[in-house]
Symmetry: C2
Subunit: 135 residues, 2 copies
DNA sequence: CTCGCTGCAAACTTTTTGCAGTCAG
DNA sequence: CTGACTGCAAAAAGTTTGCAGCGAG
């Protein structure tokens, strides 16, 4: 499920990547790159923001981490293991998490030969507060 | 379905918005803001990029246009009527469209009172080309 | 040893915002 | 008439990249 290994690269395990991955895993929801950066900076040895971005890119490619685009112009990340969907409000831009996964179908292969390893579902509409405001 | 009317604003129809909406509708796939801008610029009277962005924001709020975040750092737009899903390759970053909509469940209301009016599903994995490259 | 990874800072891209003038209703 | 919409240009925000040094394997 974690997708096949990248072409010819040999991955190295550094303490930075471990720290970043642990920070994402410790969070209860999706984090932005900056939030992750801020959390791993608290440690004795700081980690560069660029490193966070580069590590995230690697993790996403490996299928370990899942990105989420909630419409506020920044990407959020969470462990693929903690997969969940989001409800985004078109009124205020806010969002809530949805525990259930509404796309139960297992990864497979499409007609075009595309190998599906995961998915990302975002539901959008209006939150309770915005519905009231429109009344 | 096109969501309720915004709070206290009265919308105005300008030739710019009509042109932008027509450009999106004429496209066979999702367009980036810049692509839309380039297309509406061909006309005799050019439209400002900021206007394109502001109009898109309005259209999305109204539920007329649907955004798509395919992971390349820019947002793409298409008419909600032309709804379709995407397959994004984690290997090369490319993407293909999927005609079928895999989330047939109708809009409804969640426990938290959130009113769902639409959704956005992105499947990810590896395209045929990248699978071959990894072999 | 080798070569992928890191940090820093500069560069880039995309999107947003301020403001004054315009025009739809 | 009113105030929402527009254009321009400047600014912001988020992400990427170049490069030299470091260190995992």
């Amino acid at each position: 499920m974690p997708a096949a290994e990248p072409p010819g690269l040999r991955r190295r395990n550094t303490w930075q990547r471990g720290t970043i991955l642990r920070a994402i895993g410790a969070a209860s929801c999706h984090l932005t790159a900056e939030e992750i950066h801020r959390r791993v900076r608290r440690r004795e040895r700081p980690i560069g923001l660029a490193t966070v971005y580069r590590s995230l890119e690697t993790f996403v490619r490996e299928g370990v981490v899942e990105p989420a685009y909630l419409g506020d112009g920044r990407v959020r990340y969470a462990l693929a293991v903690n997969h969940h969907e989001h409800l985004v409000c078109l009124g205020c831009g806010g969002w809530e998490s949805l525990d259930a996964c509404l796309v139960p179908q297992p990864p497979g292969r499409t007609d075009s030969g595309f190998h599906v390893t995961g998915h990302r579902l975002t539901l959008y509409g209006y939150c309770a507060r915005c519905q009231r405001a429109q009344a």
